[in-house]
Amino acid sequence: MDLNTVWFLLIWVLLAGYAVLDGFDLGVGVLHLFARDESERRTNAAAIGPFWDGNEVWLLTGGGALFAAFPIVYATVFSSFYLAFMLLLLALIFRAVSLEFRGQVDCPRWRRAWDLAFGLGSLAPALLVGVAMGNVLRGIPLEADGTAVVPFLSLLNPYALLIGVLTLVMFTMHGAAFLTIKTEGDLQQRMARWTQGAWVVFIILYLGAFAATFFAAPFLFEGVLSNPLFWVFLVLVFVAVVNIPIANRAKKFLRMFLASAAAIAGMMGLAAVCLFPRLVPSSLDPADSLTIYNASSTPRTLTVMLVIAVIGMPVVIGYSAYIYRVFSGKVVVTAEHY
């Protein structure tokens, strides 16, 4: 495996890590919009309070790593999706401050306003990262010189919107599954029902998206059917997705959450396998696609970054796991929470 391939893998590990981890707290944010009373909202906030900030760092790290390893992709995609990224940033700004502001002033209207900001600030990124993913999968109009001009409205094509809604529903399911672990009683049962409902919609959308991909981006499937990894991820997604309602019925909520996490990771794996060795396909001419070779940094930089990742990421995973353990179990709302 060459360095460029290693970095392709690492970028996708970071993106999958983001989807699995921030996925659940974005989902909790979406569910926050439907919370019934103040105690439920406090529970939502307390459930993700210690985690969401660290989870979001996976996205920042993905962005930084993309800049370092594949600067051409970083520059091209981010500038081509300009307005979409600005809206994403707007949502992330409000989301990042809303829980903190919410908890510091004791006034119902103030809290309601921040609840709304938190909910919409979670819903929009869930949708937008899906739309971005959809556009990357179907390819953007890359010229031979590696630049692209993409009008904002063309980002909102049916295929990308389908992937966007799929992502939103998937994260909502994942968030509900997370809350079943953190809550008890009525709320827990309601979250189990949310997981079930979202799962049904998710299945329909996922099958639809899978079929749509054959039409929107047939090139993604060229040659991958003979790749064993494709089948490994497909089986993983299948087993994980089937396990969600089974675990739900058996009230094995941790297992349900892990199944949901595995499904998301598996889907990211599928996308990665289909794209490889491309990072961003060109919709004009396949030869102009940005790949792990024509968009990468030099071997020296890739090596240095690999050393940084190999030293840093195990430590990150170690203390993150510790924090999850410290805050494991049901949510107890105390004065220290938001």
């Binding site: 930084g64 981010f78 502001f101 940094s297 105390t334 004065a335």
Partner: protein, 458 residues
């Protein structure tokens, strides 16, 4: 009217970084002071320090959140607005940003969660450690972002190949000529900002007699801490940084110091009115030789002026902006030393808590170190123009050519409105926290915590 995407992208960058840069200095400085408070609370079993730590920890959480929110923009903005720059320098510039995320963002974000919510879940030792990791993480974050900026100022460890800057030595790129003086001076400025925030809020609480026992502790601590760090800003960090600029960026140095024509025994400008073009200093009063001494450690050393550098074919930065920003920063830095010196003197004479005017002055000081930080940043960035990477890439060749002026105008208006709102909300919320004051340690339902019935519901 044709909207110029280059100008608008520069404006947006200045706006978003300028606003973001108000918060990290506060959170870095505050984090280290909280580490000291929590340490004393834990080691001495001093309840007042624990309360101080808890109180300022809340402010840290708030400040940190706004810093994160505005910082996210920075991680993506190089790609969205500076695509040509990102392609040209990506082989070098991306690495410190990725290292910042891996070594710093994860650390500070993860342990902040443990610090804010874990007080009753882990031992005192581990809880203190979590505060320490927040401080270390935020400092490492400052280090890596300054590595990236320092490389723009004094680039090293690269070669121009294949139409871009390619890395030849990571160590040389990271530890380039301005990394250490720039980092230490900026880090010290963060500590000053934190010291004034704690001092200002504590003085307010003492005057209002709200949690005054706690506030006296934090006031005393912040004044002594503030005196030390405000002296360090002048010497050695400021002095070192100035010497480095004189050696490695003479155009910036000449503009900073208002030296039009180079000379031996160059004078240090004490007063003068800068004129932009042709560059001139009106009514200049200077102390002969001091600038030469400061820059090169020798009264007789030759310091090149703006005109000499132009004659050699170098572009020089906007003169007035660089000169005025630099002198405002230096003036404020001097004021900080005097204010802290007076505070420590009053403390020593045991008159601090009776000197009402001084206590009332301190809250007004809170914004000043942030203004000094902003001006320091302007000196660094404007003083580097017209280069985005000094003597390697011009700013005018760095922006995203595929983004339209209209799109950038839209995002500027969006950020302008949102940041104005965030600024107002931050101050409002900060004021609410301060007015509530440090709480007694036993759970107090009145401070926005759950009522006992809500607690039982879970």
């Amino acid at each position: 009217m044709e909207l110029d995407p280059l100008f608008l992208s520069r404006l947006q960058f200045a706006l978003t970084v300028g606003f973001h840069f108000l918060f990290p200095p506060l959170s870095i400085g505050l984090a280290w002071l909280v580490v000291i408070m929590e340490w004393r609370g834990w080691k001495r079993g001093d309840e007042d320090y624990v309360r101080a730590g808890k109180f300022f920890g809340k402010i840290l959480g708030l400040t940190f959140a706004v810093g994160v929110a505005t910082g996210i923009v920075m991680e993506f903005q190089f790609g969205t607005n500076w695509a040509q720059y990102s392609k040209f320098v990506g082989d070098i510039f991306g690495a410190p940003l990725a290292a910042e995320a891996i070594f710093a963002f994860f650390l500070e974000s993860t342990f902040l969660g443990l610090y804010l919510f874990g007080r009753n879940r882990v031992s005192k030792q581990v809880h203190w450690f979590s505060a320490l990791m927040v401080a270390v993480g935020s400092t490492l974050s400052a280090f890596w972002i300054i590595v990236a900026n320092a490389w723009q100022q004094t680039p090293a460890g690269f070669e121009i190949r294949n139409g871009r800057a390619e890395l030849t030595s990571f160590a040389d790129a990271v530890f380039n000529a301005s990394t250490w003086p720039r980092f230490l001076h900026t880090f010290d400025a963060c500590l000053i900002a934190g010291a004034f925030l704690v001092a200002g809020i504590s003085a307010y609480l003492v005057v209002k007699n709200n949690g005054a026992k706690v506030a006296r502790r934090s006031l005393r601590l912040s004044l002594i801490f503030g005196l030390v760090v405000s002296l360090l800003a002048l010497f050695p960090t400021g002095d070192w940084h100035a010497k480095q600029v004189a050696r490695t960026q003479p155009e910036k140095f000449a503009a900073m110091e208002g030296l039009i024509d180079g000379q031996k025994r160059a004078p240090l400008a004490v007063f003068g009115i800068p004129v932009e073009e042709p560059p001139e200093m009106k009514m200049k009063i200077g102390v002969p030789g001091v600038l030469s001494l400061m820059a090169f450690g020798d009264m007789d050393a030759f310091v090149p002026g703006i005109n000499d550098l132009r004659a050699e074919g170098h572009s020089t930065p906007p003169f007035i902006a660089t000169f005025v920003s630099f002198h405002t920063m230096v003036g404020l830095g001097t004021l900080f030393i005097l204010v802290f010196l007076l505070g420590v003197f009053l403390l020593y004479r045991k008159k601090l808590f009776e000197t009402r005017w001084y206590l009332k002055l301190l809250p007004l000081m809170i914004p000043l170190p942030l203004i000094a930080c902003e001006f320091g940043w302007i000196v660094a960035e404007v003083g580097r123009q017209p280069w985005v990477v000094y003597r390697v890439l011009k700013t005018q060749d760095a922006y995203s050519a595929n983004v339209t002026g209209g799109e950038v105008l839209f995002s500027i208006i969006m950020f302008g409105v949102v940041y104005a709102l965030l600024g107002v909300l931050y101050i409002y919320t900060l004021a609410k926290i301060v007015k509530r004051g440090p709480n007694p340690l036993e759970p107090a339902p009145a401070d926005g915590g759950p009522t006992p019935s809500a607690k039982e519901a879970h």
